[in-house]
Symmetry: D2
Subunit: 320 residues, 4 copies
């Protein structure tokens, strides 16, 4: 094996740069050349790349975003574009590709592997934590901590004004971020797409809390639960209490990765190169029960990651 | 003088607790008792207060929010309520009141001083920086830095995705936060209520930047400029470019105060007590041209704080 | 079971307050009264305690330190003092005790359980991560992230001055903090007590790096490796290069806990109360392979936690 | 005027990059070419430079350190080396030089201006805040806030252990950082080189505090006061209390600049180019009483910046 490629795809996540660095340095240590394709699959289709050496990934471990840039490329899903991408990879001698991204990127990797026959290894990096086959994705811990810091600040205002806050966090269709954030900030309630929103239950909870002397509340809601503005209105109308909405926005995607996100980036990048070297393509690396593992790309794409609802229950007990 | 009162009113601002601490400890040093009224003017009307000693303000210098809680109290503006508040102050022997808050609180202090005849000293604390008579309010520097940290993170995503971001910051009807934030993050454009929004100028600027090779942009917009969602749409429709809106919400109001906000809290609290001791009531303390000063409450309430637009111009030159 | 006690002992760790909150609220949910003993074992000996209710642990989840205060109590190890402590626990009707602390505190719990016959459950909280029976202690992730943030800043100066920095981190006799920090900051070398320091190897590594064009370096050293000043001198004398020492001090012990430290605090506190309720005393809770577990206090005290040296090897490969 | 140079010299300070960016973009706006010399005066002597365009200073506003690198160059003070530097500047057509650094760099600029006859403008950037002619240097506010954040964390441990901490901050021979930090963290005592250390006064203060019920204390000490370890020992020996020393090290020099440090960088860089354009060389820019100003390089070099001791007194009153 002489040359591999690396690409970051889909939404960016903190730690993608640390993962690029890991792939490049581990590969270089084995005498393998690394090509970094720019702007996700779009760059593979357009044949835009740069050679990455140990020196060119220097000083990036702590940076958010991705030096390779990224994109969500709708057009890349057509057969014609995939053919083009496949030809480019072959033309450049790419014998394996490390694909850093979320669940959409894993599906892209599967499609591309079928078109090109080139072994792909997926490195799960997504703040949403929604890749099947890993307990945690690169960037998840950072996004959670960014939200927790923000909400700790919002709590100051909530308490000072005896006010209720709905705080919307990211996570697309899943509640992983919301659940962990809700537990960590001591939210009075946590709303996730995996559990149907019940206005009556929520309003009752707030009433019970009020009776106990809790005049302010933080309700963490995943973006996937739908219109969070309506929830604030439900509270205002239903209970006659002041409720404000605050949306923790794109800051969750950026910022310097936490130690844990960097640790996963290092381990995942290392395992990905090892797999490619061993001719063990079409895998997705991950961490399961505290151990670095890998499963087949097919299995990762065909399954929906389950969510453990017990931490929601624990959060509820702890916010009494 | 034996007893003074202290109250935090209006929106909370980081550094209010440091200001309460300063008032209490300076007053105590002069043998004066301090009563802390709760929940702004509402607590004065309801006669809710606690005695504050040097020990009871221990460990609060670094906390956001206000241990006295605060409120915006519409009812308190009626003559009847003001009469009640006035009686409570007299009944408790309050010979002077330090009012910590924004421009609305200064107007409240003026009204209350007229009703009660008790000397009031205003301590400007507001993230909006909109109190006439001080170059800077307690909390402004903290809110600016919170926004800057957030936008530094959003920049990661903007660059990685070659995308344009509109970032809405607070400031109510004024652009002080936006202007300083725009300069500090190197925003490609900064929109403030003091300058009329011109769609054509903004779109042209983005086009010129694109021609220079700038593929991402951060546009900082004060909430006072109106519907920021529309600005994102203007860009998407007018230029066919991806533009996202991110609203830096209530986190700007909270969090641990910066050194500068704590410094102002210490100086303002100290000056406020000195003024009350000297029988010099109905003043608003401030910092002007680097010096701790005070002006009459009347003058502060009757004037609108001017905004220096030159930093917008400088920001524009620097973002080329 | 009507009453349990909770105590924080040994060095403080971020997340201890979140653990106290968890113990109190879970126990209260089962109708059990909780007594919080102050200043570690010293407070048990002196019978200093306060009743903790769900309201009295409100607003502490995000605070560093411990509201119960803590101490390292040498005298408490004598039979006489233990007898006194034992009597106090019984006198107050304490039927189980949650002991939050590091490995020293676990040994204290074992001794106290023998003297008093009262079931003890250990909750591992220590920045050092040195408790046998858990892959991670409460506070470890926070301390690691604090160090990583500091070193990211030091890297600015190291690069700007083309200079070598030795950065000493905490961890007492163990290298857990250093190993994770070294990986996360991309340290050129990481020195831990578990691996004998070899001056020649270190100097050679720096020379090789220099030849590759690396003019600055970060060397992370655990305090347990001994005199770090000497290492800086070794480099200056041996290589004629400028080397500075920076000691990341007590800030590592404090600060707001990360989401992960709060998560562990919630889970450990919950499990500890469950164990006491089930009459299952003299256990140490923990997280092993991603699952909340518990082992016997005896086993925890009699074993030394092993350290996985593979992340040091990975860090070395990644810093080439 | 066609070409100017820019150099960063002496110790690095957060905001140097923002200042480089400001110089380059303002100059470019006037059609002037900018050469960036590397590694301080050493790079001028060695004729190491790169042309800086608006694009090459993109994405650096938020970065600590200096992309031009810096050094303290002892040899550069010899006549021979200065002659070489002077020739290099002339050979490259440099008609004016912006020198970003502390008081040593200002003296270097004066010497170089005499040797070369080329107009120099000093931009004060130093965490120590010790340049005469400006109330505040670029980087000072950042270093202060970094220390304040650290000490807020140390306070957690100090309170939890009822312990006294001496915290040493930077500032070389001056107490500017210590004084502002001491006020902002609510230090029980602040030791600066400008006020002679008096063991008796310090010990007495701690005794008085203890009598008031203050069991922990933070004593902020500037590095310029000398052996801080001895102060900890004085307390342990003199009072029999536990006292720990924590040194806030090089992290103070690095990290992302605060909004205020970036604001000064923008304003100073802008004024520096304006002065060079106006043929107004050998000046030092600054902020005085809230206004951007400039004084002669000679005056700046010949005077020692005075320190206002009143904030030490205020800090003392506030920590009672």
């Amino acid at each position: 094996m002489k040359t591999i490629g690396v690409v970051t795809s889909g939404g960016d996540a903190p730690g993608m740069n640390a993962a690029i660095r890991a792939v490049v340095r581990v590969a270089s240590g084995h005498g393998i050349r690394v090509l970094g394709f720019r702007r996700g699959w779009g760059g593979v289709v357009a044949n835009e790349f740069m050679e990455l050496t140990p020196r060119s990934v220097s000083g990036i471990i702590q940076l958010g975003g991705t030096i390779l840039h990224t994109s969500r490329c709708k057009e890349c899903e057509t057969a014609g574009e995939q053919e083009k991408a496949s030809e480019n990879l072959k033309k450049n001698g790419v014998e394996g590709l490390a694909v850093i991204g979320g669940d959409g990127s894993m599906r892209g990797a599967r499609a591309m592997s079928k078109t090109s026959g080139i072994p792909m290894v997926g490195i799960p990096a997504s703040i949403d934590n929604d890749v099947y086959g890993t307990d945690e994705t690169i960037g998840f811990d950072t996004a959670v901590n960014t939200s927790v810091s923000e909400i700790d600040k919002i709590r100051d205002t909530a308490v000072s004004h005896d006010r209720i806050f709905i705080v919307e966090v990211m996570g697309r269709q899943r509640g992983f971020i919301a659940a962990m954030v809700g537990l960590a900030v001591g939210a009075e309630a946590t709303l996730v797409p995996e559990v149907k929103y019940n206005e009556e239950v929520l309003l009752n909870l707030i009433k019970v809390n009020e009776a106990k002397g809790k005049k302010s509340a933080i309700i963490v809601a995943a973006e996937g639960v739908g219109d969070t503005r309506k929830i604030a209105e439900d509270i205002e109308k239903g209970l006659g209490l002041e409720a404000r909405l605050s949306i923790i926005g794109y800051a969750q995607r950026g910022g310097s990765p936490t130690a844990r996100s960097r640790f996963l980036a290092a381990e995942f990048g290392n395992r990905a190169v090892e797999l490619l070297l061993a001719g063990n393509g079409n895998r997705v690396v991950g961490i399961q029960n505290g151990r670095i593992t890998d499963i087949s790309l097919e299995e990762s794409c065909n399954n929906k990651k389950p969510m453990d609802l017990s931490i929601l229950q624990l959060a509820r007990v702890l916010s009494t």
